[in-house]
């Protein structure tokens, strides 16, 4: 059976996914349909021509795999799909791949695969990525998946292809969180990175803001106004358990996870003005990190946990600063414009993204730590809440079409933009989740 020299990985049931699914069923049984659709604008500097041949026997699946793989790759802006139809015979195995014909069609890579049923009722999914130029196999994987894991499996396949051909980590199998406002109701949702499979993890008649992922993807921290004032909560996506971890006198907001998931930086007003404090992720006594008479908020830890970047208007207008994660003298980082807020580190720690105002518009920008160079990536009138994908390549943010809030993403070089549109409601406060099960 195993003539598969490159079989490297077996996908087992994803515990986190199943658990959060269960929670969603308890909380909002109607929220399981796909809610977001995606529109792509622009393209990468170079696009890799790739042919994706429908897998053998995928026709009978409740969820076909190759259309999802193709959509994922197209969405990145880095691939161009080459027509895979009309090959005789249709290639499912490496020896059936006619490299000369694919070269004639302009394809540099070909994806082939098979689906079969296992004895326990799951699916055995095998795929290979073939290099047309070198006439060799670049990758081959087998996955065992239940019917509700077919989409995830397709995203994992797209991740492998993306990684092999671009050299960057794929993020198609990650998740995002955001808040949808429907009338007076606020829903905190978690969805796949392509917007499918949205699940409501919290619904409230009071605002929810600033959801953010613990690095292991198992918990969210966010701010809820359900007690008629801002309070920071931590919620497990595995058990659904939630807990108010910062509920001091005054305002409690802007949670940021330390990379080890043990602590949160939060903004509190318990001693007067908005200042940044450190608390245990389970709650407990806060330790004050900033000492100013200004607003200090929107903390974000560096990936190595050594630094915190944050927003402060100590200079008279909001700007971005950096200080040691244990507190200490902050250093100002942004100097262009009079309104720079919401800093978030890139996962490689080399840059940060933020919201920047210029000429009356609020846009998403990135600044490089080493060169201090600022690049404005978007051109909406109000673009906000930026966060990096875990591969540094894409920034998710919130924008507006007419009066409605929608999610959008931009490649970190500004070349490719995606807009996610929700069937109903006003979407805001997105945050891209971490890589899990890698």
């Amino acid at each position: 059976m195993l003539q598969y020299p490159h079989v490297m990985k077996i996908i087992r049931p994803i515990r986190l996914l199943s658990a959060s699914l269960l929670l969603a069923l308890l909380v909002a049984p109607a929220a399981l349909r796909a809610a977001l659709t995606i529109e792509i604008i622009g393209a990468g500097a170079t696009q890799i021509p790739i042919a994706i041949v429908p897998f053998r026997s995928e026709e009978g699946l409740t969820q076909k795999l190759t259309p999802i793989v193709a959509a994922d790759l197209a969405r990145s802006g880095l691939f161009k799909t080459v027509d895979a139809g009309g090959m005789v015979p249709v290639p499912y195995e490496p020896e059936q791949v006619d490299f000369a014909q694919w070269r004639a069609r302009g394809a540099e890579a070909v994806v082939i695969g098979n689906v079969s049923r296992t004895a326990d009722g799951r699916y055995d999914i095998r795929f290979r990525l073939m290099d047309v130029v070198k006439q060799a196999q670049l990758a081959g994987f087998v996955y065992f998946a239940s019917a509700d894991q077919l989409r995830l499996t397709a995203h994992k396949i797209a991740d492998v292809i993306y990684e092999k051909l671009t050299g960057d980590v794929g993020v198609f199998a990650t998740r995002i969180t955001y808040v949808v406002k429907k009338g007076r109701r606020y829903e905190l949702q978690v969805a796949d990175a392509d917007g499918y499979g949205a699940q409501t993890v919290l619904a409230s008649n009071e605002p929810i803001i600033s959801p953010t992922w613990a690095r292991d993807g198992s918990r969210l921290a966010y701010v809820s106004f359900e007690r008629k004032k801002p309070v920071v909560y931590v919620q497990s996506l595995v058990s659904g358990e939630r807990r108010a971890v910062a509920n001091f006198r005054g305002s409690n907001s802007a949670p940021a996870w330390s990379p080890d998931g043990r602590r949160l930086a939060v903004t509190l007003t318990k001693d007067g003005n908005s200042q940044i404090y450190l608390i245990d992720a389970g709650g407990g006594a806060p330790v004050r990190l900033t000492q100013s008479s200004a607003i200090d908020t929107e903390a974000n830890f560096s990936p190595d946990g050594q630094w915190i970047i944050f927003t402060s208007d100590r200079s008279g207008a909001p700007q971005i600063y950096r200080m040691p994660a244990s507190g200490g003298q902050p250093q100002r980082l942004t100097f262009e414009g009079s309104y720079n807020v919401s800093p978030r580190y890139s996962p490689d720690g080399k840059s940060f993204t933020f919201m920047h105002r210029s000429a009356g518009r609020f846009n998403i920008a990135v600044q490089d730590f080493a060169t201090r160079q600022v690049q404005v990536l978007t051109d909406g009138s109000i673009d906000e809440s930026p966060s990096f994908a875990p591969n540094n390549r894409i920034i998710l943010y919130a924008t507006r079409v007419g009066a409605r809030g929608i999610l959008a993403a931009v490649s970190s070089d500004g070349r490719v933009k995606q807009r996610f549109t929700e069937d109903a409601g006003d979407v805001r406060e997105p945050s891209w989740g971490p890589l899990v099960n890698k």
Binding site: P207, I209, S210, V223, F225, K228, K229, P230, G250, S251, S253, A254, T267, T269, G272, N273, S274, I295, T297, E298, T311, D313, A317, P318, Y339, V341, S342, M355, R357, F362, I382, E384, S385, R400, A403, R428, E429
Partner: protein
């Protein structure tokens, strides 16, 4: 009766929108109880034409549209938490009222327009509410009776996406307990 005429006088200047801060502050004198005769029967010194009420029942100064205490909102400039001069008499009247009516509790709710980040706006709304609280405290309101909260940009009063909506949303509201 002297107080009663003072009320009507204040009412007239408010209707005419020509009040000055000092005259408006005079309105703070009326926090006791309002006369039992229907005020509309009597002309005021300025020859007011508009009745300020038809009921013989005592009017709560906080709800009396003719009273400055019925005004509750302080409006701010973009990214500012400075209480502008035009709102100081109103804030002062509430401070005085609270100083003279111990046991009244207020909650000051700070808000911002939709531009900028949720979190910075939350902090800015808090600073606006705190600025109003601080001014009330300086003018005699007991600090322990004033609570502040910010809704940032999350609860806009005006739904639009232009300066006319934004200017209404950059606001701190004084709300008495039970309201």
């Amino acid at each position: 009766m002297k107080k009663f005429f003072a009320v009507l006088f204040i009412a007239s200047v408010l209707v005419g929108c020509t009040s000055t801060p000092t005259k408006e502050q005079e309105g703070a004198k009326i926090e006791d109880r309002i006369p039992t005769t229907p005020p509309a029967e009597k002309p005021a010194e300025g020859g007011v034409s508009k009745p300020i009420g038809t009921s013989a029942v005592a009017v709560d100064p906080l709800r009396d549209p003719a009273n400055i205490l019925s005004k509750r909102s302080v409006y701010f400039d973009f990214d500012s938490s400075i209480v502008k001069d035009e709102f100081k008499p109103m804030v002062a009247a509430h401070a005085k009222y609270m100083g003279q009516n111990r046991g009244k509790h207020v909650r000051i709710e700070g808000n911002t327009d939709e531009r900028g980040s949720s979190e910075y706006n939350l902090a800015l709304g808090q600073r606006r509410a705190d600025a109003v609280k601080q001014m009330m405290q300086l003018l005699g309101a007991p600090a322990s009776d004033i609570e502040t909260v910010s809704f940032g940009k999350e609860k806009p009063k005006a739904a639009g996406h232009d300066e006319s909506a934004w200017s209404q949303n950059r606001r701190a509201d004084i709300k008495y307990q039970g309201e």
